[in-house]
Symmetry: C2
Subunit: 159 residues, 2 copies
């Protein structure tokens, strides 16, 4: 099945990028998590929370259910790093990150090819009729790239 | 056609990421191109050449033809930034970048779904038989993510 092979590639790309991020963040020390990726730029801990919030938003966006941790938006999405003086504890971020990525992956792996091409939740029926490329599969590709974008930044903190 | 819609999404993701990079690099001043993404890290000009070399390598990797600019490897791929004292001129990099991305896109747009799932040139017949996910489509996704990875770094130089 050609379409199944294409979907498997895209899911593998998502999974390996999440795993790469997981190794980086989960193995970082508390001190490393406080490091900025460049002077005056986001700290690793902020990027970890930011990615967790963005992945959490994928659950309703892909009609996979309610968000698990909407409380992450204020510290990590609606506000820049350091705007909120007290961030959630590292252990809490780690728990949310694991929980969200697990739920999300179970959902992603459950979609048929036809379901992947259905509209995502942020586009109206009318707009989707005009542009059927605004589907769930496009969200998967776009969020994989979003994750790679920030991984490139975190890579600047090593050595 | 489901498979065609999946391929269109992946190609759109590639195209929009290349266009984003193109706007960033082509509009940068000579001074901006000399900026490091973080202290002691790669300069924008190096990342531009690096991405150009990596995209050039996609031509033989996807069996789309010979490389157009193998001379980019020494300054931008086999050596780190600043190892080679004299880099090619900006105008030359820009010309190669445009030429390579145009040739590549024409090739990418010519593949049928079956051709996307054929093996890429760096995997042996034997290894491909064991793992058919080592196909051209996986290269497209992986190189889109590679581009996003470095775009995330270039974003640190703005403002």
């Amino acid at each position: 099945m050609t379409e199944q092979a294409l979907l498997t590639s895209a899911l593998n790309s998502w999974k390996s990028t999440v795993e790469r991020a997981d190794r980086l963040f989960s193995q970082a020390s508390e001190e490393q998590l406080q490091t900025e990726v460049a002077p005056g730029k986001n700290r690793l801990i902020y990027l970890w929370g930011h990615l967790t919030a963005v992945h959490d938003r994928m659950l309703p966006l892909l009609s996979l259910g309610e968000r698990l941790h909407p409380e992450l938006d204020a510290p990590f999405l609606s506000n820049p790093d350091r705007a909120i003086p007290e961030l959630p504890k590292t252990e809490e971020i780690k728990k949310s990150w694991n929980e969200i990525n697990s739920s999300l992956l179970a959902g992603l792996e459950s979609f048929s090819a036809t379901e992947w091409l259905q509209k995502h939740a942020s586009v109206s029926d009318e707009d989707f009729a005009k542009d059927p490329s605004r589907n769930r599969f496009a969200i998967l590709l776009s969020r994989t790239n979003h994750l790679s974008f920030h991984l490139g930044q975190t890579a600047l903190t090593s050595k």
